[in-house]
């Protein structure tokens, strides 16, 4: 049986791992290379490596750090942040990324997913979506959660999958950083809408939140979090054991 994945997310700014609450008020946490190695040695199933400021300031990923991480870490690595063109895909794939995550870039250039999927395969293209409730509707937000695009999220995700996105990261801005649990309502809607892997992001505050996620949405493939792992509030081996005790299949 395929296992449920636990994915630490490393938000990178100026070569360091950061994590804010509701995307603001960032705190420096640690070195990306040290943290990546720690996670890889401690049962993380995958790493997501985002340059969170790239789409806002047009900054390029620090590819030397990416290359170092990818040279030392032998688990799947997804890279996002500032991915606007197929050339950006090429750049990070050459540095050792396995999958490339697009967010604002896909909003600016709707053909990006299709072009990238055609060139590198669907499995390589991850559509990352920041979603927030606006007047009872789910809206896609751009630029690191700062800008309401007015786009309806479920349709946007369906369209992304039709264009070749092989995996979806759903980040709920409403629950992000609040540590009160994943956005089950929103995630269920996404899982029902598509037949590609869906990764839940935003809201994990303790181990029970992951148990709830996988119990309440059997179709969800992975849970992603940052600060609770970075600050040592939840150790991934402990989390995996807790999930196993709850009959959720994980890699141990």
């Amino acid at each position: 049986m395929i296992t449920k994945r636990i994915i630490p997310c490393l938000d990178i700014k100026n070569g360091r791992v950061v994590k804010g609450t509701n995307f603001q008020g960032l705190n420096d946490v640690s070195s990306p290379i040290e943290l990546a190695r720690l996670y890889s040695d401690n049962l993380a199933d995958e790493l997501v490596f985002y340059d969170i400021t790239a789409s806002f300031e047009g900054r390029q990923l620090f590819t030397d750090i990416l290359t170092k991480v990818a040279s030392e870490i032998f688990i799947p690595l997804t890279v996002g942040g500032g991915i606007n063109t197929v050339d950006d895909f090429d750049r990070v794939l050459k540095c050792g990324a396995d999958k490339v995550s697009v967010n604002s870039g896909a909003i600016k250039n709707p053909s990006l997913i299709k072009e990238a999927a055609h060139k590198y395969g669907d499995q390589c293209v991850v559509l990352s979506v920041d979603i927030k409730r606006v007047d009872g509707a789910f809206h896609v937000f751009a630029k690191g959660g700062r800008e309401d695009t007015g786009i309806e999220a479920i349709n946007w995700i369906k369209q992304g999958v039709a264009n070749g996105a092989g995996e979806i990261v759903v980040n709920s801005i409403d629950t992000d950083g609040v540590k009160q649990g994943f956005d089950i309502e929103m995630l269920k809607l996404v899982c029902d809408a598509v037949n590609v892997p869906v990764i839940a992001s935003g809201g994990a505050g303790n181990m029970q939140h992951f148990v709830d996620l996988f119990k309440q949405i059997p179709d969800i493939d992975a849970g992603l979090a940052a600060s609770i792992f970075h600050f040592g509030e939840v150790a991934i081996p402990d989390l995996k054991r807790e999930l196993k005790e709850n009959n959720i299949i994980v890699r141990l």
Binding site: T3, S40, A70, S71, F74, P76, K94, G121, Q123
Partner: protein
Amino acid sequence: MIAIVDYGVGNLFSLISSFKRIGADIVVTADPNVIEAADGIILPGVGAFEDAARKLHDTGLDKVVKAEAQKGKKLMGICLGMQMLFEKSFEYGCHEGLGLLKGNIIPMKDTIPNTLKIPHIGWNALHFTRKSDLFKYINQNDCVYFVHSFYATDCDDSVVATAEYGKELTAAVQKGNIMGCQFHPEKSGQVGLNILRAFCEME
């Protein structure tokens, strides 16, 4: 010296890094002389079967790899590289493989329950059906990382491990010096590195 065949398919970054990590002596090459001089061959590959098979054929390396394997040199195909060891693939048409192993590559679509997502992507447990030196450091149910939408079937007796995804899918094969992993050892953490190490240690 292990030769990683470079025929213009996929990204070899992780594979090269993995072999470096275990201290293996490797060369990434498209030179037939280097492949002939090597102690072992890695045939990588991601993407579409037809494209990869054509590229391998156009470089003339298909004949080199096949001849070396038939002479008894250890050869391991990884992911699409494993699929290419077989006779035929029915990925969008029907395409000839190297024919080093008996069997064909078929789509998961319509052959596994339609409630399952395709590709089969993520960590899954290996179920060993018989012993293989390639897995001498690996335990039953150790997990490895898969990304694929097609799989080998009618493999005769070459299957050494399967992974359950709606059915038992071919995960690894070996027939003498010819081996293949459907999963990515270079993305499977310490388990994967130990598989590559075992390959390097083989005679």
